[in-house]
Symmetry: C2
Subunit: 132 residues, 2 copies
């Protein structure tokens, strides 16, 4: 992987680490500040704008049952100062597949968009990189 | 909307027009040639690379039951030479929400990634822009 691809995969891993740690402040810091952001949680309508997006994360992470989550098979696509990562998410309720879109801000990669939806389990689950 | 936002929304509409018209060649022309591409069809594993992505579209569009599809509420996010659009998709089997990622190639906007997944119907469906 190129340096940018490695950096984007690291930013993607930081996103799932904040999710797993229920770290609302850490999650906030990972999202872009200058580019507008959006999110599509599974089964939710799309949310547009930083206030709505971060409020959704607060509700999920501070809610009564924030899910355990582990990311695997992160696959980066870098295009200049934008990038996206496709990865699997393993949750107690099943497998999801996600697109996480990033932008370069202040020399680092920040998230501008996340969509996750249901998927069959990966064909060979041995390659999972669990966060646990 | 800015000129770029309008152009990205037009490229997004062309994608759904090709889908609805079952136009495999037109669909091919809409996808990026220099940037690597990916797709996540609802309920499918992610597909990586132009050959796999276009083969999936051929299978869907030439299949026995290509779905009728109408896009609504397209919402563009432009960031330099990259962009994404969030929109609803209405199909006979229900409502989906999609992220379509674009890159600027040869002065136009080409698709590099599409993910669609289940969503509740839009809160107020009166604003739908049907392709029919």
């Amino acid at each position: 992987m190129s340096g940018d691809e490695q950096a984007v995969v690291s930013a993607n891993a930081a996103f799932y680490a904040a999710f797993q740690a229920r770290d609302v402040k850490g999650m906030d810091a990972l999202w872009a500040r200058r580019q507008p952001v959006a999110v599509i949680h599974p089964g939710w309508p799309p949310l547009h704008g930083r206030v709505a997006v971060l409020e959704s994360w607060r509700r999920i992470l501070e809610g009564p049952a924030p899910p355990e989550i582990a990311c695997s098979r992160a696959w980066p696509y870098v295009n200049g100062d934008s990038a996206f990562v496709i990865c699997y998410e393993k949750l107690p309720g099943g497998d999801l597949v996600a697109t996480n879109v990033f932008t370069r801000e202040d020399g680092g990669w920040r998230i501008v968009h996340h969509q996750a939806g249901p998927t069959p389990p990966p064909a060979d689950d041995a390659g999972s990189e669990s966060l646990h």
